[in-house]
Amino acid sequence: MSEEPRVGVFVCHCGINIGGYLDVPDVVKYAGTLPGVAYAEANLYTCSSDGLQKIKEAIKKHSLNRVVVASCTPRTHEPLFQGACEEAGLNKYLFEMANIRDQCSWVHMHERDKATQKAKDLVRMAVAKARLLTPEEEPEIDIHPVGMVIGGGVSGLTAALSLADQGFKVHLVERESKLGGYLNKLDRLFPDNTRAEDVVGPLIERVTEAPDITVHLNSAVTDVKGFIGNFDTEVATGDETQPLNVGTIIVATGADYLRPEGLYGYGEVDGVVTQLELEQLIKEGKLGKARTMVMIQCAGARIEERPYCSRVCCSEAMKNAMLLVDEDPKREVYILYRDLQTYGLEYSGLEWDAKRKGVKLVKYDAERPPTVTKGERGPVVNVFSPLLGEELTIEADVVALSVPMVPNPDNKRLSQLLKVPLNQDGFFLEAHVKLRPLDFATDGVYICGTAHSPKEVAESLAQARGAASRAGIPMAKGRLRTAAITSVVDQEKCSGCGTCIELCAYNAITKNEKKLAQVTSAVCKGCGVCGASCPERAITMRHFTNEELEAQGLAALREA
């Protein structure tokens, strides 16, 4: 901006929060002497409606073209003051804040003079930066109101249905020839022995009949370009590929389960099966004569190479154990466990019920896991019970291994395609463990179900509905204001080394036709990593330019 800077400085007393511990009038007086400052005043509360009104009046009266507020934290109050600037016709990026409360009065409550001095330093720095600020725009992008859901298990089906019920068209992409996913392999579901087909069947029916959902069976997503609102994808079905343009993508690709070759005699001793295989045997009624069953929990889980707990196996084992006892009360069923993971209102009861039905729960130590050997008539299980202080030998007819869910083998390919991360275990990694469990750091891509981590049907369904909410938000709005604080590449200085492309966590930088770096502003989060790492200093951040930061830094070093 060629216009001479005319900065207005507003110093807040914040009642006594600031005014009680440093000399606000002195800071105001000092601010008035700084180069570029056309006006300075103190407010009891700059954030009160009265204070905001004063900012607006001063902008007009003193022809201010930059505003600095010295008060509390920008995290809570910057939008408020920016709003006041905008209402007075000033671009909100011509506003700068000095935090003289959290970073000054609150931490120097007993050093009035020094606190006053530091407040002056902070104001001087803010003014130095403010003088160089330029107006910025927040460009708007269109959001194509079509969603894609990858994976047609319970999670994918639920997410697709919710998106359709919210009014969006949906492409549901399923690798197999049939919808339903992992539930197609299961018989009964805990906690109430509902048939899996009774859960997944109605969902498949509704999805198949929904006019707004297009199901792509035997299909895989093979290419993804673009960004939120406008992803250009390619879906391959057999030998044919078709381009699909979608606004958002939900990952619901589910999980696999561990094949326990070599664990506890699996594949070596007859009668050792997985819990899933046992479930099949129960379903087909093939266990007629079998009397003694042993279930081994954490088979291949909670160990060094696979540290995570698979969440569902304890409840799964309880359910199968009770089905076995219900079928024939003379049966002896043992569950060898490390820590029972039945929890909450829904699943805690399984433990009580199983005990009541005579299922024998035997704890074992991770350091002394059970062994399974081939006996005269079937597998023999030896387990040391720390509670009894002795080793038990159980001659079993069937040994069922509760193996953990493992990441879908396709996760790696998909994570590269969608440019979203996996965690150390190989499951998809959400944007924030606590508060953004269904989002990826990349806008417009969401996660639900067992692709996220092992979980029960109910939790997958709740997550799927939640992911559909997250994906539905930008599509419902139709347009999205993107951030103004993004990076800019100076094409004259860029050498095309690609360092920034490697480092960008959001895949916002690509090479253009001249093989030079180019930022897609809609994807850029303004984190600044590219700018800090560019060897040619060719990248600057809007609103945090090198010149602005240097001016601010130099001002810090200058004596007041």
């Binding site: 919710s162 993971q341 709740a462």
Partner: protein, 432 residues
């Protein structure tokens, strides 16, 4: 389109409100206390990232406050509901704050000058607040409120100091309870939980021994914004607690006094609290007494592994039978059976933390009546079907999330809140 109502301003209610408001729906967020934030605002850190809890929640609280589509009704409760999905008429009773929200700037001068001290519930009773107060520094709205039950003016007609010192002229003794009649298309119930009161478990001495705390009390004690500034000064004699024992399953997984269900989150929050102690002082002795270590969440086992190997937290399998106190030293002795070897042993501790179960809020009973919802035997709200329809209820257009229907952790509550928001958005579209 009609607005949506969200009942409860904890992290679940906040998330549901933001999801709905962000997509363009108007939201009435109804909160019983003077500030939104719920229990998460009271927590010190969150696992496994050890993020400061209020630091990650506060931006969301402020987003609610600033959102043009969200109206926050604090000190408000739903009293009557009629109609059905797509068209609910809700009567909300708003208690008087006695402070004009539009004038109060949250400076806190009224609180400073108020002569009346009251037990501070937000600090879990570990310290006092004033009769006119702001719930906590990051409260939203950042507005004072007068606790009429303890205010000298309301009780005895004297004082009025707050009104004299308020620079904004915001004190308003004349405010009356207000009745709001709101028409909404759907209702999200996010009323949360409360902590089980372990006083009835006499063997643990809670209420008799000052240094036997509940986990929520410990969260405030260890928090930098708590009564001791985050130092582990134990309540009895201010001595720095060096040996701390955590007792799991207090009031849970039992058919005796308490509840039969597992409270889902205690093993992990105890692990987090144990790590916090070790971060404060690596030489502390921290023992966690447990029955089964519940590590079923994403990254939980890895977090426990780190607590053991990196921080040196010790886990003992066994349910303590009794806690005794030495009246000369105030020190505690924890008697327990170590199920690893069957021996009855004892252990000395400066402080014991009871990891109490999450239980239903007592207001659920009246709210369920108003909403026409069913409660389970423990007064949690019942899902339509816990397996296939976890966030829906028997009443079409009313949805559940968070601990209103049972113990769950923050990420599950947040994910469910989005799920409930999706259900509400579907209803909004159907009745467009």
């Amino acid at each position: 389109m009609k607005p949506v109502m969200v009942i409860g301003g904890g992290v679940a209610g906040i998330q549901a409100a933001l999801d709905l408001a962000d997509r363009g729906l108007e939201v009435h967020l109804v909160e019983k206390t003077p500030s939104i934030g719920g229990v998460m605002a009271q927590l010190d850190k969150t696992l496994p990232t050890m993020d400061c809890s209020i630091c990650i929640l506060a931006p969301k609280m402020i987003e609610c406050f600033r959102h043009p589509n969200i109206t926050i009704h604090t000190q408000s409760q739903v009293k009557e509901v009629s109609g059905g999905t797509g068209n609910f008429d809700v009567k909300v009773l708003k208690e008087p704050r006695s402070v004009d929200e539009s004038k109060c700037t949250g400076c806190g001068i009224c609180s400073q000058k108020c002569p009346t001290k009251v037990i501070d519930g937000w600090q879990e009773g570990l310290t006092t607040r004033k009769a006119v107060y702001i719930m906590f520094p990051q409260a939203v709205p950042l507005t004072a409120t007068i606790d009429r039950e303890h205010c000298l003016y309301f009780q005895k007609g004297v004082c009025q100091v707050c009104s004299k010192v308020c620079p904004a002229g915001a004190i308003d003794y004349e405010q009356r309870p207000e009745e709001l009649n709101l028409n909404v298309s759907s209702i999200v119930v996010a009323t949360g939980f409360q902590e089980y009161d372990p006083t009835e478990l006499k063997e643990y001495g809670y209420g008799r021994f000052k240094d036997v705390l509940t986990a929520m009390e410990f969260e405030r004690l260890v928090c930098a914004s708590g009564p001791t500034g985050g130092h582990l000064n134990r309540p009895s004699d201010n001595k720095l607690a060096h040996r701390v024992a955590f007792v799991q399953c207090v009031g849970s997984r039992t058919h005796k006094k308490g509840y039969p269900f597992c409270s889902s989150v205690c093993c992990m929050y105890a692990t987090k609290e144990a790590v916090l102690i070790k971060e404060h002082d690596p030489t502390s002795e921290v023992n966690v007494f447990y029955m089964d270590l519940k590590v079923f969440g994403k990254g939980f086992q890895q977090f426990v592994n780190r607590a053991k190997s990196h921080y040196g937290v010790n886990y003992v399998r066994g349910r303590p039978g009794e806690i005794r106190m030495n009246p000369l030293t105030n020190d505690l002795t924890i008697w327990y059976e170590d199920t690893a070897n069957g021996d009855v042993s004892s252990m000395e501790a400066d402080l014991a933390v009871l990891c109490t179960t999450m239980i239903a809020r007592p207001e659920n009973v009246e709210l369920a009546k108003a909403l026409g919802l069913e409660l389970d035997e423990w007064d949690f709200f019942k899902s339509l079907n816990p397996l296939t329809n976890p966030v829906e209820t028997g009443m079409p257009g009313v949805f559940l999330c968070g601990c209103s229907h049972g113990p769950r952790d923050i990420p599950e509550s947040v994910a469910e809140a989005s799920g409930a928001a999706a259900c509400a958005a579907e209803v909004a579209r159907r009745f467009m």
